[in-house]
Symmetry: C2
Subunit: 255 residues, 2 copies
DNA sequence: CCTGCCGCCTCACGTCGCGTGAGGGTCAAG
DNA sequence: CTTGACCCTCACGCGACGTGAGGCGGCAGG
């Protein structure tokens, strides 16, 4: 009991027999056993694995990589599920961006507006930056903040992301403004902006209390990718913003 | 001006030069012209076409089919955009189902629940029924109701779809109940149910006034796929529901 | 004017994830 | 004891490119 032939598995999982043969051939999914006649017999555990395989396949992973992921014994099953959920969120987000792009294109067409070639393709670029996401998972995968962030962002719709991006851009442009005006990082304006930033994160991603915010500030100068994000707006901005964040945290905690 | 080399196009569209060569080779996208030396020169129109190609490719269409779609001169550009938006909605919906499945799996894991093999894979089946969608587009593609439906459903989240499904199931089970109890199609109960159904559609898909509802009713018996949906609940239910819909419309319009 | 060097060209074979037979065993039912 | 459904193992084919190989075009620097 609870052992299935290729045909049965194929029917259940809606894949072809050939696919199962292939997975067996490349060692991605070998049945738990065989009958004396050489017939493949799949166990429940094999079905579980097949499900995982189909999942990652759906997301476009090459089979070899799927094997590596699944055979990495250092990753717990629940970590897999979280990872899958995260990947889905990304993929959905990407498609929603595409949908937004199509909507813009429809608008543009109605209005008779012409887009520049770069504009037309910008959504395809979209900096997949999967490596960055992976690293984030490695670094923070088991902090509460990370989990909270995953839980929230997984449910965000395209509209949500757009609103968040608008807010982020607004904060950044205010930052640039105040910084360019020559205000000190310890000035009221700078600290207020830092506070706005902290609340923005708390609202959309995870509870960003002052200690965490300090850590973020440090990272904005320590991690070149974050730094670049601010430095490209204005040289010295990363450092300045970090100082503003720390000043703001000090102010809040000295009350 | 506004003419690009392969390398430039590749950079803009984030594809490889080889891909552009390939598309040229199979006649999917041939550059508008060539230099005397044989260098490909892409025009703005070529970029537009490339964008469309990448779009359908992203959604998993084979290149041959993409060529057919794009070369079908009977389809207007705006129809393409609508179609793309619709396809994206489907794809997003599918992924959101997967996300929901993952969430369920996480729950099940926490609770230590075991799922049957069929349950584990059910989301992969999901009856892609693209053919049906295509046909719907052909038949209804330029009615207001269809456009409205597309506009709304494109924004639905997973949670929305689930709520809609719950409502639909509720209506159907009430239908079955009343029908099985032997009520006439012209009875108050039957007509009220028809009215509920009409409002359900109006709320979630498009303004379904009585004339349209009548048309729907007719289709529920005329189109075997719709009919099957009701007939599988109980033989004769499709016909009965159609009569109830018409009775309800008559009642409303006789006021 | 020659020399790099980069970008472009055209074959042409390799890869990945299977599809699609070919040729042949297995097994329960009639 | 045949029939038909299902299973097996090769093995070639295909779509959508990747990846050189070998060679031309065009321009900057010496």
């Amino acid at each position: 009991m609870s052992s299935y032939s290729v045909g049965e598995v194929a029917a259940i999982a809606k894949v072809t027999v050939r696919t199962l043969h292939h997975y067996d051939g490349i060692g991605l999914l070998s049945p738990g056993g065989r009958t004396p006649a050489g017939y493949r017999r799949y166990q429940d555990a094999d079905l579980d694995r097949l499900q995982q395989i189909l999942f990652y396949r759906e997301l476009g992973f090459p089979l070899e990589e799927i094997a590596a992921i699944l055979d990495d014994h250092s990753v717990s099953p629940s970590a897999h599920l979280r990872r899958q959920h995260q990947l889905l969120g990304e993929r959905i987000g990407h498609l929603q961006e595409l949908a937004a792009a199509v909507e813009r294109a429809m608008e543009a067409q109605k209005m008779g507006i012409q887009l520049t070639p770069e504009e037309k393709f910008e959504v395809f670029g979209a900096d997949y930056q999967e490596s960055w996401e992976e690293e984030a998972q490695e670094r923070w995968g088991d902090t509460d903040a990370w989990k909270q962030s995953q839980a929230r962002t997984g449910r965000y719709t395209k509209a949500d992301w757009e609103r968040i991006k608008v807010e982020t851009d607004a904060i950044n442009s205010r930052l640039l403004e105040v910084f360019s005006a020559g205000a000190a990082a310890g000035s009221g304006e700078a600290m207020d902006l830092a506070e706005t930033h902290r609340q923005h994160i708390s609202e959309h991603f995870y509870d960003c209390h002052f200690a965490i915010h300090r850590g973020l500030g440090e990272m904005y100068v320590a991690d070149p990718r974050f730094a670049a994000n601010y430095e490209k707006l204005a040289p010295g901005l990363a450092q300045w913003f970090r100082d503003a964040i720390i000043a703001n945290a000090d102010r809040a905690e000295s009350v």
